[in-house]
């Protein structure tokens, strides 16, 4: 196991180097001149030159790359160009809001989709199953944006069950007052693709020989689905959850912008609109690292879900 972990960590290095190179050259050759962005529209040539000097933009490319790499390793990204806040401080202050919304979404999504998918798989081929599939196809074709616009209008503006939008410093108030509407809307929208996906995992397993054997020895359909099929279908489900985990840290951009939630997603979007390169670069690289670590953890979790999986 230790050897496996070490090898996996070692394999991450080239990928990470690639991410750093991609981000560096993307902004270096396709982005605007940072000095001009920083100096603003009415800057004199001297100001621009001074900023170029200060950022090391007139040094050779490999030297700039080295400065960039040093920033990543030391977690020192300097300050946001737009707000002059330190980039790490910016993320630390925005992350709680994002997690307050995203963690309940992920938990509810998985906890609701599994029983739904089991039910649909149980009634597979029947009219109920077909009706559910048709409804999910149509539901899926409507943009997430429409659900959010209509949901806010109906449940907050018309019915007044939730506040239209808002946010406070108290985590508890946020969780019980402001987060429920965005969370419920997001879960409602992701439930149908998730149910379809999990249904296909369950159906894949139901076709296997061990299910036939279980039926032959007279087990109830309920026991087959809940005990035998469920355990085997957990592997792809775990992979899916692992894939969704890194997304938690950026949050759903749309939800944060729409409900004015001061989270990481909205901050990144503001950075994109303001050409605030340090913020975008930092979040891209760290998210890549988190993704790789989460993928590794998911692989380790497989051994718990399925003892036959041996990590080599």
């Amino acid at each position: 196991m230790t050897a496996y972990l070490l090898r996996r960590l070692w394999q991450m290095i080239p990928t990470l180097v690639g991410v750093v190179l991609l981000v560096f050259f993307l902004f270096k050759y396709f982005g605007g001149d940072p000095a001009e962005i920083l100096a603003g529209q009415n800057a004199t040539a001297e100001t621009v030159k001074a900023i170029q000097e200060q950022l090391g933009l007139n040094r050779p490319v490999w030297e700039q790359l080295w400065i960039f790499a040093k920033q990543i390793i030391t977690f020192d990204w300097g300050r946001s160009w737009a707000t002059n806040e330190s980039v790490s401080g910016l993320f630390a202050s925005r992350l709680p809001a994002t997690l307050t919304v995203m963690v309940p979404i992920l938990v509810l999504e998985v906890l609701l989709a599994i029983p739904f998918a089991l039910a649909v798989a149980y009634w597979r081929g029947s009219l109920t199953d077909r009706a559910v599939m048709v409804v999910t196809t149509v539901a899926l074709s409507i943009s997430f944006l429409v659900y959010v616009i209509a949901g806010q209008y109906v449940f907050a503006f018309r019915l007044g069950w939730f506040p239209v939008q808002g946010w406070t410093d108290s985590v508890w108030t946020n969780l019980v007052k402001y987060a429920p509407l965005p969370v419920l809307l997001a879960v409602f929208v992701s439930l149908s693709p998730q149910t379809r996906l999990y249904r296909s995992y369950f159906l894949d397993e139901i076709g296997n020989d061990y299910v036939r054997t279980a039926r032959a020895k007279g087990l109830t359909e309920k026991r087959i689905l809940l005990t035998h099929v469920m355990r085997n279908a957990l592997i792809p489900i775990l992979t899916g959850i692992g894939g969704a985990l890194p997304g938690i840290f950026v949050g759903s951009f749309l939800i944060e912008v729409f409900f004015s939630i001061p989270g990481v997603g909205r901050e990144v979007l503001l950075a994109v609109n303001r050409s605030d390169y340090p913020v975008i670069q930092a979040v891209t690289i760290y998210l890549a690292v988190i993704t790789m670590v989460v993928n590794l953890l998911t692989d380790v979790l497989y051994t718990l879900a399925d003892p036959r999986v041996v990590l080599k």
Partner: protein
Amino acid sequence: MRAPTEGIWAAAWRRLRRDKVGMAALAVVLLFLLMVGLASAGLIASDWQQERGVSYAPPTFMGPAERDEANGLPVPKGPNVDLGDIDPLAPQYKAWAERAATYEHAEAEKATTLPFGADLQGRDVLAKAVQGAKVSVLVGVLAAVVATIIGTVLGALAGFFGGKVGDLLEWVYNVFTSIPGILLIFAFAAVAGRGTQSVVLILGFAGWTGIYRLVRAEFLKHSVREYVRAAEAIGASTTSRMFRHILPNISHVLLVQLSVHVVGFIKAEVILSYLGLGVAVDEVSWGTMLAEAQTELIQGYWWQLAAATLFMAVFVTAFSLFTDALRDALDPKLRGLE
């Protein structure tokens, strides 16, 4: 004489024709494509920027909006007060009125209702939805084509050659997939600027990895098959073997992937346009219509939201159903699984 064997496309078409849902979906998709074609040629909805009705004119079936007297300041009664001694501009008014009179001026007749209503500026929502369909569908299709081309070329190289080239491309693939998709799109958007062309390139460059994976697997499988060996034996060049022998044999995989991506990219364009990273401000897409709809809905003007949603839902549903039918027709083994 032997009857010629049925080719994969003929067989797929035969299977597709039996699929009623698939054929109905295909008809709807073709109608939309015809509409997009006519709009691109400037034959319909080219005047979407004209102010055809009064501001927020309701849809025809609702009748004209009632004039709301409660809003705004009451119009003062009695003769106008002469402000000549305190208004410094007053001496100029007569000269300005004379100069204005020398220009031709026609008060455009503004409709009080339109089939699908009007937006803030009095533009016809139906024309906007048609024009929006043009932009959204074109972005979706072109981005999917870009992604398919990148994914196919890289996947073909990685799968066919393997070795060093394969390792290098696997590295590129790992780099692209280790960055969450939406963030990759944002990073590209930060440097690419706005506009239809940018959106196509951003979505295409960020979305090729899935296709690469599939094409690579197919090329790995096919490159050792006998027909490819035979082609090599008769002296077919590497490019010829890759793109003239193997590619047609996996083209059904590409076609299905292309249509799957069209749906995904149309939805992505809507979100990007809402976030302000999508099409340019002088263009209209379903995404920009929905972005306007948010504030309109609170004021009770629901028709733009309804029009954009209806157009998008019909097209995307039809396209998804057609894609499913296409996959079933091209790869009958998959039928019944998802």
